[in-house]
Symmetry: C2
Subunit: 405 residues, 2 copies
Amino acid sequence: MSLIVQKFGGSSVANAERIFNVADIITGTYKQGNDVVVVVSAQGDTTDDLIAKAQEINENPSKREMDMLLTAGEQMSASLLAMAIEKLGFPVVSLLGWQAGFLTSSAYGSARIKRVVPDRIQKELDKKNIVIVTGFQGVNRYNDMTTLGRGGSDTSAVAIAAVMKADLCQIYTDVDGVYTADPRKVPNAKKLDVISYNEMLELATLGAQVLNNRSVEMAKKYNIELEVLSSLTRKRGTIVKEANKMEKMLISGVAKDEDVARISIIGVPDRPGLAFKIFSKLSGKNINVDIILQSVGRNGTKDISFTVGRSNLQDALDILTPYVEVLGASGIVHDETVAKVSIVGAGMESHPGVAADMFEALFESNINIRMISTSEIKISVLIDQADADRAVTAIHNKFFSDVAM
Amino acid sequence: MSLIVQKFGGSSVANAERIFNVADIITGTYKQGNDVVVVVSAQGDTTDDLIAKAQEINENPSKREMDMLLTAGEQMSASLLAMAIEKLGFPVVSLLGWQAGFLTSSAYGSARIKRVVPDRIQKELDKKNIVIVTGFQGVNRYNDMTTLGRGGSDTSAVAIAAVMKADLCQIYTDVDGVYTADPRKVPNAKKLDVISYNEMLELATLGAQVLNNRSVEMAKKYNIELEVLSSLTRKRGTIVKEANKMEKMLISGVAKDEDVARISIIGVPDRPGLAFKIFSKLSGKNINVDIILQSVGRNGTKDISFTVGRSNLQDALDILTPYVEVLGASGIVHDETVAKVSIVGAGMESHPGVAADMFEALFESNINIRMISTSEIKISVLIDQADADRAVTAIHNKFFSDVAM
């Protein structure tokens, strides 16, 4: 007998028919003799609908009240899913985040799980109940409802799997696994059977929105085997696990991120500490900076360029524009017509030719590289947004042209 | 400074505009220097919509999961109302039933409040917050969500008022007070300024669905002054309080109840104990019997007639029909084309002519009385349903014809 955690996203429970589809998957797993803990998101567009309802009343509500409102979403989906499982004749109980022992920080809207005390879940499993837990939510030290932020249901599932030492954590979503590139854009993209935590992390960061980043980090930390799969196709998905358990793939995927804007501060005096001051100002406002490029100094000045998420662009400009004069720089410019394309692969650490192959693919497609950033298992380039889809296809063909479909 | 509890029903918060109307009432009370605790129901048709959603999945879900689903309704209305109050610039916090300390029995769907521990409410009041509490819900000893049953939000409000010794408990609804008769049916029905708990209880039982019965019982027990009023008209409503504080009115109202069916067991042998056996069988199945009439014995047999709610009719017949033979009775008949019309008034105790006046009004309208039941402050008659509205008007005119409009 195994303990299996299954997480179902909002599209998997969007209506009564899909709820019964999910109930069938869950009871199938239970019938095989497994203990099953299910984490469920709010149905379909519920969260967006609730946000719209709040906006109609107050365009800037407190995050505490917003969390109070939004946590009702999973409460409804969890109880409806439990009713479907009851209808199929299986013992089931639904639990809210606080009932399931999800203790979080107090950062309403983006709380972090501090502890999961799974006593109640275990008690229900001991009674042979299927346990449905509301994802995305918990309770803070004041006994107030909190949400983990978007994608937080993945994290809820992995947290339960970690604390209860589950044998497998299945993340059911609307795609049937992790692909070497976006299959809607690259027709010969291939589904991966397996990928390492680190590769998955880089892909998640890079905009392949299959798995929430925090959930992968937590799975890595507690060595929980994940499976990403579709609730609709019922095929095997992609397993995410420790790299040393698997043959390292040279390249596991190509990803595109269009949520990126470039900022350049021009003519910064070539003195130590100025770059630090710029980036500490941004991090002080919780603005993440990604690729950073500093030009070689010329005439005693240099240019500092970097990328931020587009939603942070205005904040970053507001912070830095008045600061240009203080720095003694000559100006600040920005560009939103850019995109980031990246390749990820645990095998590239030991294969130095990977970057050259990537750049060759872009050169052959006449695509100009504007910035480059590399990590041990990732190479990212900043290019014109208009070239992004062509770039993904060209790079994918370079590395995966020999892949049997 | 006073502590005022205000309860708003679903129609009072049905949409954004009404939510702001309610927010205005609440903040107006707060601005006058009062501590304000608000109890709110789910918006408009939310509860019915959730029930329909559940029915789509499982026509017979467990009551536990049903309560889990339904309690999301007030969670949403409470947080939205809090956001509206935030928008108006006032300090506010919304609390769920369990956060507000509502400990209930485990009877999902119709739980009873066992205790209210208002520590958190008091803490928020001490911080000068307006406190919004979800009505209709609590938590049982297993830490599971429970609902108090329909109309339970009134009870929630009175329970808070009782335990916190509030100075006033205002029940905002879609009518502007308690009337001497249904104002939609009797044009010259008059709004009462004040009514006693007992009169209100009789009226509530008799189908004047202004206030939930349990809430009036609780208000009486803890001597909490209630005010029934409309959130839309903003006029003074009807005060419900202890009779000895007020001049006793001869008649406070005329009420009609069409949820009534008559059952007669014919030819019951005239032996002691048979009536007891009949009614103990019914009470064993939780069927409430109202008016009871036993004919004078003749030829050693008698007829026993009584009324039950229509939803209980089939159950009552199922129980009693096989029992007719055991009793040695000759048959059982029933009639659903009846209605009960009642007058209520604390003053009738000392005015014996009231019943005669009521019967005279019915006689003048040529309405046949089929059964009669009286209590110290109530006289009820069972008549043909087709005559019910005429009967209410005739009786109302008899007692209130001299009332200045």
